[in-house]
């Protein structure tokens, strides 16, 4: 088959098919008309017409995160490409494999400020893992296959392929994926065995250990999560997950101490602070995790396993670094653990667990259950209780308080069930991401846990849900504020609520109906279960407008610039105990 001649656009479509792509998310325009024409003439690849290009990238992210396969985006030149930039940056920060095809003006017009021209490769260079401008139809096939290889191997990320209109029209030779190998890109997946032995030895001799596990394990594939579970259970050690890592270890397991970080549990953060050996797998010590750097886990030896060498020693200097894919390294660790006589100190471990149980008793996620208004935590808890018997529940979120409450109160037993914008914190991520998840899993229950502010950022995608009859459930915790902004203003800026209140919100029930979806509303706690049941029983898209306590804050909270052991707990805050934040802390986000 190699050497078959066809137009650049046909090469793109054939390459997508050969890469196993079944659905792409896009929006047409002048510079991609040949591609859309080629798309029209085939039926292997389904195209989902979004309502704005940002929605296309987030949908591709949701698709990728829930399947492990790269998500594919097709947008036009100029504004099509610039609208995709937020999604690309989001995918870069959260290591999501995305291949984004952008149209470009014809090669002879590049640089002439042509209509809908922009320097796409220039604009997207810092927000992609790699990008290409293809100038010859004969290069299209190679670049397409390379793009998929780069997006999904090593630390995954977004790749842009910029395709000038004449290159789409010109005739070139097609080559299949097996004929393309990348010249330089060879990520290291196997970890160094000597270091793995050293790590296992350190782990076995730990007295107060903690596993700190992030999204890298999920990116490594479901097997990595199984291996993680096997290894953690073999050790009997506690484990905490980052926001991105939720689902890599079953949340119902005794050894799981909850999420860590700025809104992590009391026990998780104190485990991090007081541990003597920290085993970080596929996480990157970002500022939401560490709090104040010089007070971060002061007495521990740190082991860091990551596929990206640039993650090592970036924020926190570690004692032992293993470069490799989480799944491969875990497999080797288990082998080494089993072959050696590795027996943790049972007494030390028992007293460590006694300590952890005391922290757990603090019940840092508790909230007022007798409230006459709906507490947002309660709403998520009821949603979880109503769906936890099902295996096919996928949760996406927007960004803000509701996102943190969802992370705290919705529990995940399996990987790839939780889609959220962690690194970039993109409001408006959840609805299009849910759309992408639902495309990948047509019969599953997909819920976007949203805030009323975030949901308005990509509300136009309700129209896409209607067109493709996607039964996504949008579960809005409506507190009428930009809740997280309001919370910071209350706690850190003297309760001066500068521009964080949203006046004139839409009637979400009427809004749902205008998009051919079902609108539901709950105003008090007694309505909640009924609303959830009705939502779950509806086979169409739903917007559930859940009116929650407008002034509820999200706790625990490690204020910016504070250390893990300086966390604010919800019940303390009631006693007029405002946190003290240094000027340095105020400068942090």
């Amino acid at each position: 088959m190699s050497g078959q001649e066809m137009s650049g656009a046909e090469i793109v479509i054939k390459a997508l098919a050969d890469q196993g792509v079944d659905v792409i998310f896009g929006y047409p325009g002048g510079a991609v008309l040949p591609l859309y024409d080629a798309l029209f003439k085939q039926n292997r690849i389904k195209h989902v017409l979004v309502r704005q290009e940002a929605g296309a990238v987030h949908a591709a992210e949701g698709y990728a995160r829930s399947t492990g396969k790269p998500g594919v985006v097709l947008v036009t030149s100029g504004p099509g490409a610039t609208n995709a930039v937020t999604g690309l940056t989001d995918a870069l920060m959260d290591s999501i494999p995305v291949v984004c095809l952008t149209g470009q003006v014809a090669t002879h017009m590049i640089g002439n400020d042509a209509f809908q021209e922009c320097d796409t490769t220039g604009i997207t260079r810092p927000c992609t893992k790699h990008n290409y401008l293809v100038k010859d139809a004969n290069d299209v096939a190679r670049v397409m296959h390379e793009a998929f290889f780069v997006a999904s191997n090593g630390r995954p990320g977004p790749v842009v392929v910029d395709l000038p209109k004449d290159v789409q029209i010109n005739i070139g030779k097609y080559v299949g994926p097996s004929n393309v190998t990348h010249k330089t890109y060879r990520p290291q997946v196997k970890g160094d065995l000597g270091k793995i032995r050293q790590a296992v030895d350190m782990i076995a001799r730990a007295r107060q250990p903690i596993f700190y596990v992030g999204g890298g394990v999920i990116n490594s594939g479901p097997k990595a999560s199984q291996l993680l579970t096997e290894f953690v259970r073999a050790t009997g050690y506690p484990i905490t997950n980052t926001l991105m890592g939720l689902g890599s270890y079953p949340a119902s397991d005794k050894q799981f101490v909850g999420m860590l970080g700025m809104h992590g549990t009391y026990e998780a953060n104190l485990c991090m602070h007081q541990c003597d050996v920290m085993i970080c797998i596929g996480a990157r010590f970002d500022d939401r995790i560490t709090g104040r750097l010089d007070a971060f886990s002061p007495n521990s030896k740190k082991i860091h396993i990551d596929i990206d060498p640039s993650s090592i020693n970036k924020n926190i200097a570690v004692d032992l670094a293993i470069i490799g894919d989480a799944g491969h390294v875990l497999e080797d660790m288990i082998k080494v653990w089993k072959t050696g006589a590795h027996q943790p100190d049972a007494d030390a471990l028992a007293s460590w667990w006694t300590q952890i149980e005391q922290w757990r008793k603090r019940d840092s996620l508790k909230f007022d259950r007798k409230s006459k208004v709906i507490k947002p935590q309660y709403a998520i808890e009821r949603l979880y209780q109503a769906t936890k018997h099902r295996d096919d529940v996928y949760i996406t979120t927007e960004v803000g308080q509701h996102q943190m409450w969802a992370a705290q109160h919705f529990h995940f037993e399996k990987p790839n069930r939780w889609m959220t914008s962690g690194g970039l914190g993109t409001m408006g991520y959840g609805l299009p991401a849910a759309m992408g998840v639902q495309m990948a899993h047509p019969d599953a229950l997909v819920v976007d846990i949203a805030g009323e502010a975030s949901i308005l950022m990509n509300i136009q995608e309700m129209s896409t849900l209607a067109q493709y009859k996607l039964p996504v459930k949008v579960f809005i915790l409506n507190n009428q504020w930009m809740g997280m902004v309001r919370q910071w203003q209350e706690l850190l800026h003297g309760a001066r609520y500068s521009e964080s209140y949203m006046d004139s919100l839409p009637d979400f029930v009427a809004l749902a109906e205008s998009f051919k979806a079902v609108g539901l509303r709950a105003e008090n706690p007694d309505d909640l279960d009924g609303l959830i049941q009705e939502m779950l029983a509806t086979d169409k898209a739903v917007i559930a407008d859940v009116r929650v306590d407008p002034l509820e804050n999200c706790f625990p909270m490690v204020p910016s610039g504070a250390a893990h052991n300086e966390m604010i707990l919800g019940d303390e805050e009631k006693q007029e105990d405002k946190p003290t934040v240094t000027d340095d802390g105020l400068a942090l986000v």
């Binding site: 490769t121 220039g122 810092p126 990008n131 330089t184 060498p309 640039s310 020693n313 200097a317 004692d319």
Partner: protein, 173 residues
């Protein structure tokens, strides 16, 4: 592990595919992450495989330098990254220095050039252009001696460097 805070100067050699945008990627990495570039040279060194070598002189704490190397290595078109400062190495810079002077000062510039083994590659009755190769410090010293003699225009290449001794496998040394 202690976090060291001393600022060090390093010369990093990067072998890249000579493709469009590769230099922008490298420079963008430095500007985007707030790293310093003291000098940068780039030229094709392998014509058949279309590979270029970039020599970067940068400064930072040991942790930052390690980050720079890891971040460079992560760029897709990068083949290899080598920190030449780790071992014995040679570094050279070339400068073309135009000195505008007449009379005794003009002669003085020629005498200094002789001491520095700079070659006069262009001359008029009011000026010389000297070509000088050497370490960055040597070039700095020469230029500083020329400045009092008249108006000076300088064009410098930035540092190119290579390790001493035989070729070491899988590195740019």
């Amino acid at each position: 592990m202690k976090q060291e805070t001393t600022i060090e100067r390093h010369i990093i050699a990067v072998l890249v595919d000579n493709e469009a945008g590769v230099l922008a990627r490298v420079i963008g990495l430095f500007s985007g992450r707030g790293y310093n570039i003291e000098s940068l040279t780039v030229a094709e060194v392998e014509h058949e495989s279309a590979q270029s070598r970039i020599n970067i002189v940068t400064t930072g704490t040991p942790m930052i330098i390690a980050q720079i190397i890891a971040q460079l290595d992560r760029l897709v078109p990068v083949h290899r990254v080598t920190d030449l400062t780790e071992g014995r190495h040679l570094e050279r810079e070339l400068a073309l220095i135009k000195v505008q002077a007449t009379g005794e000062k003009r002669l003085e510039s020629l005498r200094i050039a002789d001491i520095f083994r700079a070659r006069a590659v262009d001359s008029t009755d009011r000026s010389f252009v000297f070509e000088l190769t050497g370490s960055t410090e040597k070039l700095d010293d020469f230029i500083n001696l020329m400045r009092p003699l008249g108006q000076v225009n300088v064009s410098r290449t930035g540092v190119v460097a290579i390790s001493r001794g035989p070729i070491q496998s899988d590195s740019l040394k």
